[in-house]
C-alpha cells in the first residue's frame, strides 16, 4: 500500500513537471532542456530553508517555488538572444553548471545529497494525505496551463512560436511572453521539487540531470506536446511503466539499461508513427506538429 502511494506521489510530481515543461517547450516552442534544474532549485532551496532557518515547511515550499521562478531569468534572458538549437545548448550549459555547483558545495550535501529534510506532514496516514495534496496541486497545474493557453494570450503564444519576426512586425513583444512562460513553468517545476523534498526528505544532484530532461521530454512527446492532457497521460504512463518492469524481477544490470532503451524506443517510434502524441489531434498543431509546422511551412513556401 505504502508502495502504491509512493508511486502515486511520483506520478503527481511528474504530472506537474511534464505539464509545466509542456508550457515552455510544447506551447512556447522554447527549446530549453533545463527544466529539471528548476525542479532541483525548488527542492534544494526549500529543503535548506527548512533545515537551516527552521522556516515552516509550507512557507519554505512556496519560497522554493518563488526562487525557481526568479532564477528562470537565467534561461529566459539568454533565450531572447538565442533560439532554437542554440537555446538547447545554452540551457544544457545552465543546467550542468548549476548541477556542478550543487555537486560541489558542502552546504547542499554535495554529491551525497541533502538529507534530513523536514517532511511536510506526519502521522499514520501521511502518505495518503500527501497523495491527495499532490493530486490537487497537479490538477491545478493542468488547469492553470490550460487556462493560459486558451483565448487571446494562448493565440499570441502560438503566433510567437510560429514566427517571432512576424509576431514582432505586428507590434507584439515576444520577449514578454517568453519571460512569462519560463517564469510560470519554472515556478511550477520548483513547486514540484519542493513537494518532493518534503515528502521523501532526501534529494541528490543526480536526480536532476540530463536523464531527467530526457524523461520529461519523453512524457511530453509521447503524451502530445502542446496539448492539455498529453503531458498528464505521458507522465502517468512513463512513471508506471518502469515500476511495472521492476515487478519482472530482472537483475539491475539489465533493468537500468532497459529503462533507457524503453524511453529511446518510445520517443523514436512516436516521432515517426504518431508525432501528435497519444492525445494530439491531427490538425491544429498539437504534438510535435506544433514545432514542425513552421519548418514545414517554410519548406513549402520555398518550393512554391
Amino acid at each position: 500500500m505504502e508502495y502504491l502511494l509512493t508511486v502515486m506521489v511520483l506520478i503527481g510530481i511528474n504530472v506537474i513537471l511534464a505539464t509545466s515543461f509542456n508550457l515552455i517547450l510544447g506551447y512556447g516552442g522554447l527549446m530549453s532542456v533545463a527544466h529539471p534544474i528548476f525542479y532541483a532549485i525548488g527542492a534544494y532551496c526549500s529543503g535548506l530553508l527548512a533545515i537551516h532557518l527552521q522556516i515552516p515547511v509550507p512557507l519554505s515550499i512556496l519560497i522554493g517555488a518563488g526562487i525557481a521562478m526568479v532564477l528562470s531569468f537565467g534561461v529566459s534572458l539568454p533565450s531572447l538572444r538565442v533560439s532554437g538549437d542554440y537555446l538547447v545548448i545554452a540551457s544544457i550549459g545552465f543546467q550542468l553548471g548549476i548541477l556542478h555547483v550543487i555537486n560541489n558545495l558542502e552546504f547542499t550535501g554535495a554529491a551525497g545529497g541533502l538529507t534530513n529534510i523536514p517532511v511536510l506532514n506526519e502521522g499514520p496516514s501521511r502518505s495518503l494525505v500527501f497523495v491527495l495534496l499532490i493530486a490537487v496541486v497537479a490538477a491545478c497545474a493542468v488547469m492553470l496551463v490550460g487556462w493560459i493557453v486558451e483565448g487571446d494570450y494562448g493565440r499570441a503564444i502560438t503566433a510567437m512560436r510560429n514566427d517571432e519576426e512576424a509576431f514582432s512586425a505586428l507590434g507584439r513583444n515576444a520577449m514578454n511572453i517568453k519571460i512569462v512562460l519560463f517564469a510560470i513553468g519554472s515556478g511550477m517545476a520548483g513547486l514540484a521539487g519542493a513537494l518532493y523534498a518534503h515528502y521523501f526528505a532526501y534529494v541528490t544532484p543526480e536526480q536532476f540531470g540530463i536523464f531527467t530532461s530526457a524523461a520529461l521530454l519523453t512524457m511530453v512527446v509521447v503524451g502530445g506536446a502542446a496539448t492539455t492532457w498529453g503531458p498528464l497521460v505521458g507522465a502517468v504512463l512513463l512513471t508506471t511503466l518502469p515500476q511495472a518492469i521492476t515487478f519482472l524481477g530482472l537483475p539491475v544490470s539489465i533493468m537500468a539499461p532497459l529503462q533507457g532503451v524503453i524511453y529511446t524506443t518510445l520517443v523514436i517510434s512516436f516521432l515517426f508513427a504518431r508525432p501528435q502524441g497519444l492525445t494530439g489531434g491531427t490538425r491544429g498543431g498539437g504534438g510535435l506538429e506544433a514545432w514542425s509546422a513552421s519548418a514545414a511551412f517554410r519548406a513549402r513556401r520555398r518550393a512554391e
Binding site: D152, R155, A156, T158, A159, R161, N162, D163, E165, A166, F167, S168, A169, L170, G171, R172, N173, A174, R283, G284, G285, A290, A293, S294, A296, F297, R298, R301, R302, E304
Partner: protein, 227 residues
C-alpha cells in the same frame, strides 16, 4: 516621413547595406529593386529596426527607429510584411487577424475582409493550409490591421502566378489610393511593380545605384543590365 542617413548594416564581417541615405514622404509609392543578395531585404528590415548591427540613423516621422526593437518601432505607424513566414500557420485566418488586431480596433477586421473578401470565406481555415497567394493576401491584411501610415512589403508576389501578381499589386495600389497608405515594395517582378510605384531605387552590393522616377527606370535601355 522616413529619413535614412548614412545607413550601414552588417552581418558579421559582411556589409549588406552600405552607406545608404534616403528620404521619402507620406503616401510614397516606392519600389526597391536589385538582384539576389543586393541588400533589399536588409534595407527594408532596417526601416523597422530588424537588423542589430547598424550604423547611421533611421527616423520615422521624427522618431528614431531603434535597432532590435521592432515591436516598438512598428507601432509608430509602420506595417511590415517579411519576405517569408509572414503568417502564423497554426492559427486560423481570423485568429491571425486578431493577433495583429489586438492592439487595434475590431472594425479593422471588417475593413480587412472588405479589402480581401476571400479571407472572409476562409476565416476558419488554418493559415498554413492556404495557398501561397492566399497567404500573401493574409500577410498584407495582417500588416494593415495595425493601421499603418506606410506598408513595407518584401517580395509580396514571390512565387505567385502572373494573374495573381496583378491581383496582389492591384490590391496594394487600392490600399494606397483608398487609405492613403504609403507603399515601399521590394520586388523581383520589376516590370509589374513599376506599374504600381512612382519612384524606384536599385541596389547593388548594398549601395544605391539608381534613384529616380519609375518611368525613368523603365525607359533605361539597359534595364536588364541592372538585374
Amino acid at each position: 516621413m522616413f529619413e535614412v542617413q548614412n545607413l550601414t548594416a552588417r552581418y558579421g564581417p559582411l556589409v549588406a547595406v552600405n552607406d545608404v541615405s534616403l528620404s521619402f514622404d507620406t503616401g510614397v509609392r516606392m519600389g526597391i529593386f536589385g538582384h539576389n543578395g543586393s541588400g533589399k531585404s536588409t534595407l527594408l528590415k532596417c526601416l523597422v529596426g530588424g537588423v542589430r548591427d547598424v550604423s547611421g540613423a533611421v527616423a520615422f516621422g521624427g522618431s528614431p527607429i531603434v535597432a532590435d526593437q521592432v515591436h516598438r518601432n512598428v507601432m509608430l505607424g509602420i506595417g511590415f510584411v517579411p519576405q517569408v513566414q509572414n503568417v502564423f500557420p497554426n492559427l486560423t485566418v481570423e485568429q491571425n487577424l486578431h493577433i495583429a488586431g489586438s492592439k487595434s480596433d475590431s472594425s479593422f477586421l471588417e475593413e480587412a475582409y472588405a479589402l480581401f473578401p476571400l479571407l472572409r470565406e476562409r476565416q476558419d481555415q488554418l493559415a498554413g493550409d492556404m495557398s501561397g497567394g492566399e497567404q500573401q493576401m493574409l500577410a498584407v491584411a495582417l500588416a494593415l490591421m495595425t493601421r499603418p501610415q506606410v506598408l513595407l512589403l518584401d517580395e509580396p508576389t514571390a512565387g505567385l502566378a502572373p494573374a495573381i501578381v496583378k491581383n496582389v499589386l492591384g490590391s496594394l495600389s487600392r490600399i494606397n489610393t483608398e487609405l492613403g497608405t504609403g507603399l515601399i515594395l521590394v520586388e523581383q517582378n520589376v516590370l509589374a511593380a513599376l506599374d504600381v510605384v512612382e519612384r524606384a531605387i536599385v541596389l547593388k552590393g548594398g549601395r544605391v545605384v539608381f534613384d529616380g522616377a519609375s518611368e525613368e527606370l523603365r525607359a533605361k535601355e539597359d534595364l536588364w543590365a541592372w538585374f
